[in-house]
């Protein structure tokens, strides 16, 4: 008797306790791999999603569908979307969100809020991308070659991160952090559509939550280097013209660690100086000149490249200041170490007046297997 009660209890509890309310079957879900947001003319949010449809038989591959809807907010348009797609749309496997230029110009805080608020929305590994046109056009490509658009975008961004175009990866969480930090701004990958091709155009610079400027691809790499970081590779091509050493040099500075000194100093009258130096070690991958790269000429190449890159770096810093994008976190340093000064400052107004002292030093450590 006692035994049967125990058995009954065990059966009942496995039947009743193991089940829970918060379950979702994968087969019932429509997973949105990539999502795009645009601002419509009447200031509403247009959401475009790429849904992955599981294969009907085991042999065939998955398919994708593109849908879009308009709503007053991000979640609002998602709800609108749910009315259009079959079943339940979920963003659990979302890997990339594309944001149209108009929306980015109008501020990211309101449309991104739901991503931070709802714990079901992934944020640790979601990339944000800005496009120079409409996000719906990018997602609307549906497939690029053999790849579905979402996979393509993720792979593209990841490979460009390895090439130091955007590094370290700007995920949703990092953007959240920068959005809320008065002393730190951020930059996001900037892509565009050229004909049928999706092309990386560099980075989009942000001030507070607004899109305020852009850098081209070469300058994006410089920006990454100025942050003291680099992906696996960081390739630059420069033309040098120094006596016999005339020609184009392609070199890679991503193989060795970037040495960076970053100091924020405050002058007597409260003016802010920033010392920003980087030391790069380069490997020559291509050189079109006729003069062999002997030891003496490498010294001159180093000199020449350092000059060129210093000029480029200063240009980059100027563009950053013009866009009011405090990507190095100068403001954060001021908050931490010069707090009373920070409180007197209106940082959005004063950041463009910060005096940067930027220098880049290049030393070539390898010329490949020929001189």
């Amino acid at each position: 008797m006692k035994r049967s009660v125990a058995v009954l209890g065990a059966v009942l509890s496995t039947a009743m306790l193991a089940g829970c309310w918060d379950r979702e079957y994968l087969k019932d879900l429509n997973l949105a791999y990539s999502v795009g947001f645009d601002l419509t003319k009447d200031k509403k949010i247009k959401e475009t999603v790429e849904l992955i449809i599981p294969p009907e038989s085991e042999q065939s591959g998955t398919k994708n569908e593109i849908h879009s809807a308009v709503g007053p907010t991000t979640r609002g348009s998602s709800n609108e979307l749910r009315a259009r797609v079959r079943g339940n749309m979920r963003v659990l496997k979302n890997g990339v969100q594309v944001i149209g230029k108009d929306l980015a110009l109008n501020g990211l805080k309101p449309p991104m809020d739901v991503n931070f608020r709802d714990p079901d929305n992934p944020s640790s590994n979601v990339r944000l991308i800005i496009t120079d046109g409409e996000a719906s056009e990018i997602i609307g490509q549906k497939e690029v070659g053999e790849l579905k658009i979402g996979e393509f975008l993720v792979q593209k961004i990841e490979s460009l991160e390895k090439m130091s175009l955007f590094y370290p990866p700007e995920t949703m969480d990092k953007v959240f952090k920068a959005l809320k930090d008065p002393g730190q701004d951020f930059a996001l990958p900037y892509i565009g559509l050229e004909g049928k091709e999706i092309v990386a155009k560099g980075v989009a610079l942000f001030h507070d939550q607004y899109f305020t400027g852009e850098l081209n691809t070469e300058d994006s790499i410089m920006l990454v280097l100025l942050k003291g970081r680099s992906g696996d590779n960081a390739r630059l091509t420069k033309k040098i013209d120094d006596g016999p050493l005339r020609g184009n040099i392609s070199f890679n500075v991503g193989k060795k660690k970037v040495k960076r000194t970053f100091k924020v100093m405050v002058g007597k009258n409260g003016e802010v100086h920033v010392q920003l130096n980087i030391k790069l070690k380069g490997l020559i991958e291509e050189y079109t000149g006729s003069h062999p790269l002997t030891e003496e000429s490498i010294v001159r190449v180093n000199q020449e490249l350092s000059d060129i890159l210093t000029r480029q770096a200063r240009d980059v810093v100027r563009s950053l200041q013009k866009a009011n994008c405090d990507i190095f976190g100068v403001g954060r340093e001021l908050i931490a170490y010069h707090n009373s000064l920070w409180k007197q400052k209106d940082w959005s107004k004063e950041y463009p007046e910060v005096q940067f002292h930027t220098n880049v030093q290049v030393s070539i450590i390898n010329t490949g297997i020929i001189q």
Partner: protein, 364 residues
């Protein structure tokens, strides 16, 4: 004591106190302290630890005076029949209230973060059943379970430490932004996450060690908990800027969620069930304390008979408040009750015991 209950070892005591002390509070103290103490939050926690240590010392002075007696027996001894019983009833109420408070916050967190659709009463019921099974047992059984579940601290600490990869020291500075006065005042917000050490009032006679060693072990537990909190709080302050922290009531979970472990996208869902075990230990300690009190009140030998009632009461208390305001009210009342029951009353008892001893000496 006439009862021949087995005693727990010193090592078990160490882990017992830690398990009882670490509760749901730590998930939100970085948030609370960011409001008041800003960068100085770590200092606040250290001060709170020191204050806790003083209270522990006071408890020890009290308990040492009455060898072999627990809090309830001391109440009877000092307060006499009527007043002593009233005191015991008060303490039982206090333990039930605190247990309910922890359970309510725990379930709140679980629901917000991972179980949106599960009804509250189911979660509360499951917690109650778990605590019932533990709290009805003898102390040694509980201690063994606590020791076992202490292994779970390792993954918790690893999760939080992993957050250090995203840390930036500048976020914490300037340390003294809020001013020393605010940093001191903020200790009020942290005390509630330190509670739990008061179980020594009940288990003190059941420990197999000398009085001095007991004090040392308890102090070690307190030190461990304080340092653990300092670590968690500083990590959160270094990972989030203070403007961001202002929006995140449970920064520890948010931190764990934002970590990327390659395969695992949402580590907070792994973190929470592990954390729940620690919470169960905290609630169990209170349920046990309350049951022992009831056993004393009704002069029964075993406390296990009363545990179901205690758990039922906790369950129904936690069912009552539905709005955030009501939950907040429960929180505040638990806080003030704690001031009364772990500071004022024991202090009065220490004073009382001095007088009492004199009386005994005189009559002898």
């Amino acid at each position: 004591m006439a009862q021949t209950e087995k005693k727990i070892s010193a090592r078990q005591l160490f882990l017992f106190i830690i398990q009882a002390q670490i509760g749901v509070g730590v998930l939100s103290i970085p948030y609370k302290l960011n409001e008041t103490a800003r960068g100085g939050a770590g200092i606040t926690v250290l001060i709170t630890g020191a204050i806790t240590q003083l209270i522990i010392l006071m408890f020890w002075l009290l308990l040492r005076k009455f060898p072999g007696l627990n809090l309830f027996q001391i109440c009877l001894r000092l307060g006499g029949r009527v007043f002593g019983k009233l005191l015991i009833a008060g303490y039982i109420g206090y333990f039930v209230l605190l247990g309910a408070n922890i359970m309510l916050s725990a379930v709140g967190v679980l629901q917000r973060w991972m179980m949106n659709a599960t009804p509250t009463w189911i979660l509360l019921g499951l917690f109650s059943i778990m605590t019932y099974y533990l709290a009805k047992e003898k102390l040694t059984v509980m201690a063994r379970f606590y020791t076992l579940s202490s292994a779970l601290f390792i993954p918790l600490i690893i999760f939080v430490s992993y957050g250090l990869t995203q840390a930036r020291l500048e976020y914490m500075f300037p340390l003294m932004e809020a001013g020393i006065w605010n940093i001191l005042k903020a200790t009020k917000d942290t005390t509630i996450s330190m509670y739990g050490f008061e179980v020594i009032l009940i288990i003190f006679p059941l420990i197999d060690a000398s009085d001095k060693k007991k004090l040392m072990i308890i102090s070690m537990s307190n030190l461990f908990v304080t340092l653990f909190y300092v670590f968690v709080v500083s990590t959160c302050l270094m990972v989030f800027s203070s403007e961001q922290l202002r929006l995140i009531p449970e920064p520890v979970l948010y931190l764990v969620k934002s970590l990327n472990f390659y395969i695992v996208d949402r580590a907070d869902v792994l973190f929470l069930p592990i954390w729940s075990i620690t919470l169960v230990c905290s609630i169990t300690s209170y349920a046990y304390a309350a049951s022992v009190g009831l056993a004393q009140l009704f002069k029964r030998k075993s406390h296990g008979v009363f545990t179901p009632y205690v758990n039922a009461v906790i369950f129904f208390i936690t069912l009552l408040p539905a709005t955030p305001l009501a939950i907040r009210r429960l929180d505040v009342s638990a806080e003030y009750a704690a001031y009364l029951f772990i500071f004022i009353l024991p202090f009065a008892m220490v004073i009382g015991s001095k007088l009492f001893k004199k009386k005994v000496e005189r009559s002898a």
